[in-house]
């Protein structure tokens, strides 16, 4: 799909509720650095961020800041140590001396223990941070697996869609590239209700800033080609591209492919290097 077709789905994508095939298409455009889609999705993410910021403001507990810093093994330095104000002396000399001695013993006791507690607390914080890091790593592995599952699910959906076009009633079929040494070759299936399926092999590798674009070529002199989506070939030169939706086979002369800039074009900018003329009647 080209960027124009995806434009209306950027907001849904940013909210996480875009549906297939648009979600996968937008993701693919972003993955290959499509400037148009990146700008569009970035704009939609602004809206999403603002919706999040509109939640009623509530103050978390004071401990949260300390917990977060402790989880990376850091101290919260904003909490000032408590200070003990000296009080005027009022005890007799011997009692004061005794009290001071007792305090000194208690202070030594707590100093020794507090150092021990501090060491243990630091150790616990380090262990907690390590556990959290491990949890993060596991969580990310899970996210990767979920991502792979999503990709596979999307691929299955795409192949199901392709099969529906091939096996659909009134599907027209055309071939291209036969009889030459090593040209791009393949087939096109067009179903009036389900869309166009393009399958090719031996496609040359495109430059980083180029992409293949499929076109429906209407009958009649001067009729403008209709954009039918962008696609890339795989590393082995194979490609499978689907343009879902209805197609008026009677008024379509051929399916063609050109090489365009990454954002695609509204009209072909070069002579199509693949042209598959449609038969007058479906098989």
């Amino acid at each position: 799909m080209n960027c124009d077709e995806l434009r209306d789905h950027y907001d849904l994508y940013a909210l996480g509720i875009a549906e297939e095939p648009e979600r996968t298409e937008i993701r693919a455009h972003l993955d290959r650095g499509c400037e148009v889609c990146m700008a569009g999705v970035r704009d939609s993410l602004r809206v999403a961020a603002l919706i999040g910021a509109s939640a009623e403001q509530t103050q978390p507990s004071a401990q949260l800041r300390r917990r977060i810093l402790a989880s990376i093994g850091a101290e919260d330095q904003t909490v000032a140590p408590s200070t003990v104000q000296p009080r005027p002396g009022w005890l007799p000399g011997w009692a004061a001396a005794l009290a001071l001695a007792a305090l000194a013993i208690i202070a030594v006791y707590f100093a020794v223990n507090s150092r021990q507690y501090a060491r243990e607390a630091a150790q616990l914080r380090r262990e907690a941070a390590q556990l959290r890091e491990q949890a993060t790593v596991l969580s990310e592995a899970g996210a990767r697996l979920r991502g792979q599952l999503r990709d596979q699910t999307a691929e299955v959906a795409r192949l199901t869609q392709a099969l529906a076009i091939i096996s659909g009633p009134r599907t027209a079929e055309a071939s291209f590239g036969g009889g030459q040494p090593r040209p791009p070759q393949g087939k096109v299936f067009v179903n009036p209700a389900r869309g166009v399926l393009f399958i090719a092999s031996n496609l040359p590798r495109t430059a980083a800033d180029r992409i293949y674009e499929m076109w429906l070529i209407p009958k009649g002199k001067g009729a403008k080609p209709i954009p039918a989506g962008l696609f890339q070939s795989q590393a082995n030169g194979n490609a499978l591209h689907i343009r879902p939706g209805t197609v008026d086979i009677a008024s379509t002369a051929a399916i063609a492919v050109t090489l365009e800039n990454r954002a695609g074009a509204a009209q072909p900018t070069s002579t199509p290097f693949i042209v598959a003329p449609l038969a007058a009647t479906p098989r």
Binding site: L12, G16, V41, R42, L45, V47, G52, E133
Partner: protein, 193 residues
Amino acid sequence: MLPLVLAAYTAPEERALITRLQQRDPQALAELYDRYGRLAYSLVLRIVRDSAIAEDLVQETFLRVWNRVHSIDSDKGAIGSWLLAIARNRALDYLRSSAGRERNAVKLDETDHAPLYGQMEAEILISDQARRVKAAMGKLAPNYRTVMELAYFEGLSQSEMSARLGQPLGTIKTWVRAALQSLRDELGAAVSP
């Protein structure tokens, strides 16, 4: 009532903060919390509606930012929107797992597309814009507001909203689009690039 100040920081300040986070300066994490802690907590609390769980999830959010801050481009400098996206995903994941349901809505993976957040303006979350969104949400027709809240704060897909509200899927899609358009109309330049 929405407070007047949420998080208003200039791009240079934000850039410097990201750089310090990338250099593993713990004090930078403290400052990041001071800037966005309440914002993230409020969002997560709105989603999970339990203060203890919300604090746990916010802690996880900041730890994740600390561990993944290198994926943000410090040249552009805007970490708040990314942090909020992480917080939202954490909260929605919790909501889904605690409810024992698969989430049909597919979340936008904030790690995959971190550069998109890094290229936003640091000022995106300033109080005035957030207040305008709050006002704009308030002005939405009740059915429009409901679908926006279900989508954003509960992570429901359009099909799930259809089942929850007992409305045809097509109606839900129309409401979602109309709600988003109304928000954009109300916000005007606030969300323009």
